[in-house]
Symmetry: C2
Subunit: 121 residues, 2 copies
Amino acid sequence: MNKSGERILSTLEHVGGFASAQEIHRAMVRDGKNIGLTTVYRGLQALIKENIVDILRRDDGEAIYRVCGDAHHHHLVCKKCGRTVEIEGGEIEKWALQEAAHYGFREVGHSAEIFGICSNC
Amino acid sequence: MNKSGERILSTLEHVGGFASAQEIHRAMVRDGKNIGLTTVYRGLQALIKENIVDILRRDDGEAIYRVCGDAHHHHLVCKKCGRTVEIEGGEIEKWALQEAAHYGFREVGHSAEIFGICSNC
DNA sequence: AACAAGAATGAAAATGATTGTCATTTTCAG
DNA sequence: CTGAAAATGACAATCATTTTCATTCTTGTT
Protein backbone atom coordinates (compact mmCIF):
# COMPACT_ATOMS: atom_id res chain seq x y z
CA MET A 1 0.00 0.00 0.00
CA ASN A 2 1.28 3.49 -0.82
CA LYS A 3 1.17 6.64 1.26
CA SER A 4 -2.22 7.92 0.20
CA GLY A 5 -3.66 4.45 0.70
CA GLU A 6 -2.46 4.51 4.29
CA ARG A 7 -3.88 7.94 4.91
CA ILE A 8 -7.24 6.96 3.43
CA LEU A 9 -7.33 3.81 5.54
CA SER A 10 -6.41 5.74 8.65
CA THR A 11 -9.15 8.27 7.99
CA LEU A 12 -11.66 5.52 7.37
CA GLU A 13 -10.76 3.94 10.68
CA HIS A 14 -11.22 7.25 12.48
CA VAL A 15 -14.64 8.16 11.14
CA GLY A 16 -16.47 5.31 12.79
CA GLY A 17 -15.85 2.45 10.41
CA PHE A 18 -17.72 3.39 7.28
CA ALA A 19 -18.09 6.41 5.04
CA SER A 20 -18.57 7.37 1.43
CA ALA A 21 -15.66 8.45 -0.73
CA GLN A 22 -16.86 12.03 -0.64
CA GLU A 23 -17.13 11.96 3.14
CA ILE A 24 -13.65 10.53 3.48
CA HIS A 25 -12.32 13.22 1.18
CA ARG A 26 -14.09 15.98 3.09
CA ALA A 27 -12.76 14.64 6.39
CA MET A 28 -9.21 14.53 5.06
CA VAL A 29 -9.33 18.07 3.70
CA ARG A 30 -10.90 19.31 6.93
CA ASP A 31 -8.06 17.70 8.88
CA GLY A 32 -5.46 19.48 6.82
CA LYS A 33 -4.30 16.47 4.83
CA ASN A 34 -4.28 17.61 1.27
CA ILE A 35 -5.45 15.08 -1.21
CA GLY A 36 -7.59 15.10 -4.33
CA LEU A 37 -10.94 13.41 -4.64
CA THR A 38 -9.64 11.36 -7.55
CA THR A 39 -6.89 9.94 -5.41
CA VAL A 40 -9.37 9.00 -2.72
CA TYR A 41 -11.41 7.03 -5.23
CA ARG A 42 -8.34 5.34 -6.64
CA GLY A 43 -6.97 4.57 -3.22
CA LEU A 44 -10.25 2.99 -2.20
CA GLN A 45 -10.33 0.84 -5.33
CA ALA A 46 -6.83 -0.36 -4.51
CA LEU A 47 -7.77 -1.11 -0.92
CA ILE A 48 -10.73 -3.12 -2.14
CA LYS A 49 -8.52 -5.12 -4.46
CA GLU A 50 -6.24 -5.88 -1.54
CA ASN A 51 -9.23 -6.98 0.54
CA ILE A 52 -8.51 -4.34 3.12
CA VAL A 53 -11.77 -2.52 2.70
CA ASP A 54 -15.21 -3.56 1.70
CA ILE A 55 -17.75 -1.75 -0.43
CA LEU A 56 -21.45 -1.60 0.33
CA ARG A 57 -24.31 0.56 -0.92
CA ARG A 58 -26.51 3.02 0.88
CA ASP A 59 -30.21 2.95 0.08
CA ASP A 60 -29.69 5.83 -2.35
CA GLY A 61 -27.02 3.87 -4.18
CA GLU A 62 -24.03 5.82 -2.91
CA ALA A 63 -21.07 3.56 -2.20
CA ILE A 64 -19.85 3.32 1.35
CA TYR A 65 -16.54 1.80 2.33
CA ARG A 66 -15.53 0.07 5.50
CA VAL A 67 -12.47 -1.62 6.89
CA CYS A 68 -12.85 -5.34 7.12
CA GLY A 69 -10.92 -8.37 8.20
CA ASP A 70 -9.49 -10.95 5.84
CA ALA A 71 -11.78 -13.84 6.53
CA HIS A 72 -14.61 -14.30 4.06
CA HIS A 73 -17.79 -13.19 5.69
CA HIS A 74 -21.14 -11.60 5.02
CA HIS A 75 -22.95 -8.59 6.38
CA LEU A 76 -26.07 -7.79 8.27
CA VAL A 77 -26.80 -4.14 7.54
CA CYS A 78 -29.29 -1.77 9.09
CA LYS A 79 -31.28 0.02 6.39
CA LYS A 80 -31.75 3.05 8.64
CA CYS A 81 -28.48 3.80 10.38
CA GLY A 82 -26.01 1.71 8.41
CA ARG A 83 -24.86 -0.28 11.44
CA THR A 84 -23.15 -3.39 10.16
CA VAL A 85 -22.54 -6.74 11.75
CA GLU A 86 -20.15 -9.23 10.23
CA ILE A 87 -21.56 -12.72 10.16
CA GLU A 88 -20.45 -16.11 8.98
CA GLY A 89 -21.79 -17.54 5.78
CA GLY A 90 -22.24 -21.01 7.16
CA GLU A 91 -24.34 -23.08 4.82
CA ILE A 92 -24.22 -20.42 2.13
CA GLU A 93 -20.76 -21.46 1.03
CA LYS A 94 -21.93 -25.00 0.49
CA TRP A 95 -25.12 -23.87 -1.22
CA ALA A 96 -23.20 -21.71 -3.68
CA LEU A 97 -20.82 -24.49 -4.63
CA GLN A 98 -23.57 -27.06 -5.02
CA GLU A 99 -25.80 -24.90 -7.19
CA ALA A 100 -22.87 -23.79 -9.33
CA ALA A 101 -21.70 -27.35 -9.84
CA HIS A 102 -25.21 -28.44 -10.70
CA TYR A 103 -25.30 -26.01 -13.64
CA GLY A 104 -21.70 -26.61 -14.66
CA PHE A 105 -20.25 -23.30 -13.51
CA ARG A 106 -16.55 -22.96 -12.70
CA GLU A 107 -14.53 -20.36 -10.74
CA VAL A 108 -17.38 -19.80 -8.38
CA GLY A 109 -17.81 -16.85 -6.06
CA HIS A 110 -20.83 -15.45 -4.33
CA SER A 111 -22.22 -12.48 -2.47
CA ALA A 112 -24.88 -12.45 0.17
CA GLU A 113 -26.14 -9.74 2.44
CA ILE A 114 -28.98 -9.42 4.87
CA PHE A 115 -30.82 -6.12 5.32
CA GLY A 116 -33.13 -5.09 8.09
CA ILE A 117 -33.74 -2.53 10.77
CA CYS A 118 -31.62 -2.85 13.87
CA SER A 119 -32.83 -2.77 17.44
CA ASN A 120 -31.67 0.84 17.97
CA CYS A 121 -33.69 2.23 15.09
CA MET B 1 -52.58 2.72 -10.97
CA ASN B 2 -52.68 4.60 -14.28
CA LYS B 3 -52.07 3.29 -17.78
CA SER B 4 -48.31 3.74 -17.91
CA GLY B 5 -48.02 2.16 -14.49
CA GLU B 6 -49.77 -0.92 -15.80
CA ARG B 7 -47.55 -1.11 -18.85
CA ILE B 8 -44.41 -0.74 -16.76
CA LEU B 9 -45.55 -3.45 -14.40
CA SER B 10 -46.42 -5.74 -17.27
CA THR B 11 -43.01 -5.20 -18.83
CA LEU B 12 -41.28 -5.86 -15.54
CA GLU B 13 -43.15 -9.13 -15.22
CA HIS B 14 -42.11 -10.18 -18.69
CA VAL B 15 -38.38 -9.56 -18.37
CA GLY B 16 -37.78 -12.19 -15.72
CA GLY B 17 -38.84 -10.41 -12.58
CA PHE B 18 -36.26 -7.70 -12.16
CA ALA B 19 -34.63 -5.00 -14.24
CA SER B 20 -33.28 -1.49 -14.02
CA ALA B 21 -35.31 1.51 -15.08
CA GLN B 22 -33.19 1.92 -18.17
CA GLU B 23 -33.63 -1.72 -19.12
CA ILE B 24 -37.37 -1.51 -18.65
CA HIS B 25 -37.47 1.57 -20.81
CA ARG B 26 -35.34 -0.03 -23.53
CA ALA B 27 -37.55 -3.13 -23.52
CA MET B 28 -40.71 -1.05 -23.84
CA VAL B 29 -39.35 1.01 -26.72
CA ARG B 30 -38.08 -2.12 -28.44
CA ASP B 31 -41.58 -3.61 -28.16
CA GLY B 32 -43.15 -0.64 -29.83
CA LYS B 33 -44.73 0.86 -26.74
CA ASN B 34 -43.81 4.46 -26.79
CA ILE B 35 -42.99 5.93 -23.44
CA GLY B 36 -40.43 8.36 -22.08
CA LEU B 37 -37.70 7.47 -19.65
CA THR B 38 -39.03 10.07 -17.23
CA THR B 39 -42.39 8.36 -17.13
CA VAL B 40 -40.76 5.01 -16.43
CA TYR B 41 -38.94 6.49 -13.44
CA ARG B 42 -42.09 8.18 -12.20
CA GLY B 43 -44.17 5.08 -12.72
CA LEU B 44 -41.67 2.99 -10.78
CA GLN B 45 -41.68 5.45 -7.89
CA ALA B 46 -45.46 5.23 -7.78
CA LEU B 47 -45.38 1.42 -7.88
CA ILE B 48 -42.95 1.44 -4.99
CA LYS B 49 -45.18 3.71 -2.95
CA GLU B 50 -48.07 1.33 -3.59
CA ASN B 51 -45.90 -1.61 -2.49
CA ILE B 52 -46.32 -3.27 -5.83
CA VAL B 53 -42.63 -3.28 -6.66
CA ASP B 54 -39.47 -3.44 -4.63
CA ILE B 55 -36.21 -1.62 -5.18
CA LEU B 56 -32.79 -3.24 -4.81
CA ARG B 57 -29.27 -2.26 -5.87
CA ARG B 58 -26.84 -3.86 -8.23
CA ASP B 59 -23.20 -4.04 -7.24
CA ASP B 60 -22.51 -0.97 -9.34
CA GLY B 61 -25.19 0.99 -7.53
CA GLU B 62 -27.77 0.96 -10.29
CA ALA B 63 -31.28 0.51 -8.97
CA ILE B 64 -33.15 -2.60 -9.99
CA TYR B 65 -36.86 -3.10 -9.52
CA ARG B 66 -38.67 -6.29 -8.79
CA VAL B 67 -42.32 -7.19 -8.55
CA CYS B 68 -43.21 -7.90 -4.94
CA GLY B 69 -44.79 -11.20 -4.20
CA ASP B 70 -42.91 -12.55 -7.10
CA ALA B 71 -41.62 -15.90 -5.99
CA HIS B 72 -38.39 -15.00 -4.28
CA HIS B 73 -35.38 -16.52 -5.98
CA HIS B 74 -31.67 -16.00 -6.56
CA HIS B 75 -29.37 -15.94 -9.55
CA LEU B 76 -26.42 -17.79 -10.90
CA VAL B 77 -24.64 -15.44 -13.27
CA CYS B 78 -21.84 -16.13 -15.75
CA LYS B 79 -19.05 -13.58 -15.38
CA LYS B 80 -18.14 -13.91 -19.04
CA CYS B 81 -21.32 -14.02 -21.09
CA GLY B 82 -23.91 -12.88 -18.55
CA ARG B 83 -26.04 -16.00 -18.86
CA THR B 84 -28.29 -16.14 -15.83
CA VAL B 85 -30.01 -19.06 -14.20
CA GLU B 86 -32.72 -18.59 -11.62
CA ILE B 87 -32.26 -20.80 -8.61
CA GLU B 88 -33.99 -21.40 -5.34
CA GLY B 89 -32.60 -19.95 -2.16
CA GLY B 90 -33.32 -23.00 -0.07
CA GLU B 91 -31.52 -22.75 3.23
CA ILE B 92 -30.56 -19.15 2.59
CA GLU B 93 -33.97 -17.89 3.60
CA LYS B 94 -33.71 -19.63 6.93
CA TRP B 95 -30.14 -18.48 7.42
CA ALA B 96 -31.07 -14.83 6.81
CA LEU B 97 -33.96 -14.92 9.25
CA GLN B 98 -31.96 -16.68 11.93
CA GLU B 99 -28.98 -14.36 11.75
CA ALA B 100 -31.18 -11.29 11.68
CA ALA B 101 -33.19 -12.46 14.66
CA HIS B 102 -30.00 -13.25 16.54
CA TYR B 103 -28.92 -9.63 16.29
CA GLY B 104 -32.37 -8.17 16.87
CA PHE B 105 -33.03 -6.95 13.32
CA ARG B 106 -36.59 -6.44 12.05
CA GLU B 107 -38.08 -6.14 8.55
CA VAL B 108 -35.54 -8.49 7.16
CA GLY B 109 -34.65 -8.94 3.52
CA HIS B 110 -31.62 -10.39 1.82
CA SER B 111 -29.81 -10.67 -1.44
CA ALA B 112 -27.59 -13.46 -2.65
CA GLU B 113 -26.03 -14.19 -5.97
CA ILE B 114 -23.55 -16.70 -7.24
CA PHE B 115 -20.98 -15.80 -9.88
CA GLY B 116 -18.93 -18.12 -12.00
CA ILE B 117 -18.06 -19.10 -15.53
CA CYS B 118 -20.62 -21.21 -17.31
CA SER B 119 -19.97 -24.36 -19.27
CA ASN B 120 -20.21 -22.57 -22.65
CA CYS B 121 -17.50 -20.10 -21.82
C1' DA C 1 -69.99 20.18 -28.07
C1' DA C 2 -67.33 23.47 -25.45
C1' DC C 3 -64.86 24.47 -21.46
C1' DA C 4 -61.61 24.64 -17.81
C1' DA C 5 -58.85 22.43 -14.03
C1' DG C 6 -55.90 19.16 -13.00
C1' DA C 7 -53.13 15.07 -13.94
C1' DA C 8 -49.92 12.84 -16.93
C1' DT C 9 -46.28 13.05 -20.23
C1' DG C 10 -41.68 13.64 -22.12
C1' DA C 11 -37.78 16.51 -23.93
C1' DA C 12 -34.27 18.78 -22.21
C1' DA C 13 -31.53 20.62 -18.51
C1' DA C 14 -29.71 19.91 -13.87
C1' DT C 15 -27.66 17.08 -10.38
C1' DG C 16 -24.42 14.22 -8.17
C1' DA C 17 -21.44 10.25 -7.75
C1' DT C 18 -17.97 8.02 -10.06
C1' DT C 19 -14.48 7.32 -13.73
C1' DG C 20 -11.26 8.71 -17.46
C1' DT C 21 -7.61 11.76 -19.22
C1' DC C 22 -3.40 13.75 -19.17
C1' DA C 23 0.17 16.82 -17.82
C1' DT C 24 2.96 17.29 -13.83
C1' DT C 25 5.31 15.62 -9.70
C1' DT C 26 7.36 12.14 -6.79
C1' DT C 27 9.87 7.92 -5.99
C1' DC C 28 13.55 5.00 -6.49
C1' DA C 29 16.79 1.72 -8.50
C1' DG C 30 21.05 1.86 -11.00
C1' DC D 1 22.40 12.31 -10.67
C1' DT D 2 18.98 10.38 -14.10
C1' DG D 3 15.58 8.32 -16.43
C1' DA D 4 11.61 5.20 -16.08
C1' DA D 5 7.70 4.09 -13.77
C1' DA D 6 4.19 5.07 -10.49
C1' DA D 7 1.32 8.42 -8.14
C1' DT D 8 -1.19 12.60 -8.07
C1' DG D 9 -4.90 15.92 -8.92
C1' DA D 10 -7.40 19.39 -11.78
C1' DC D 11 -10.60 18.94 -15.07
C1' DA D 12 -13.66 16.86 -18.31
C1' DA D 13 -16.65 13.00 -19.41
C1' DT D 14 -20.12 9.53 -18.21
C1' DC D 15 -24.16 7.71 -16.52
C1' DA D 16 -28.26 7.01 -13.62
C1' DT D 17 -31.61 9.71 -11.66
C1' DT D 18 -34.33 13.96 -10.69
C1' DT D 19 -36.22 18.40 -11.79
C1' DT D 20 -38.33 21.71 -14.77
C1' DC D 21 -41.63 23.21 -17.68
C1' DA D 22 -44.38 23.45 -21.66
C1' DT D 23 -47.64 20.55 -23.89
C1' DT D 24 -51.10 17.05 -24.19
C1' DC D 25 -54.54 13.99 -22.38
C1' DT D 26 -58.68 13.21 -18.87
C1' DT D 27 -62.62 14.08 -16.81
C1' DG D 28 -66.40 16.36 -14.91
C1' DT D 29 -69.58 20.31 -15.81
C1' DT D 30 -72.48 23.27 -18.30
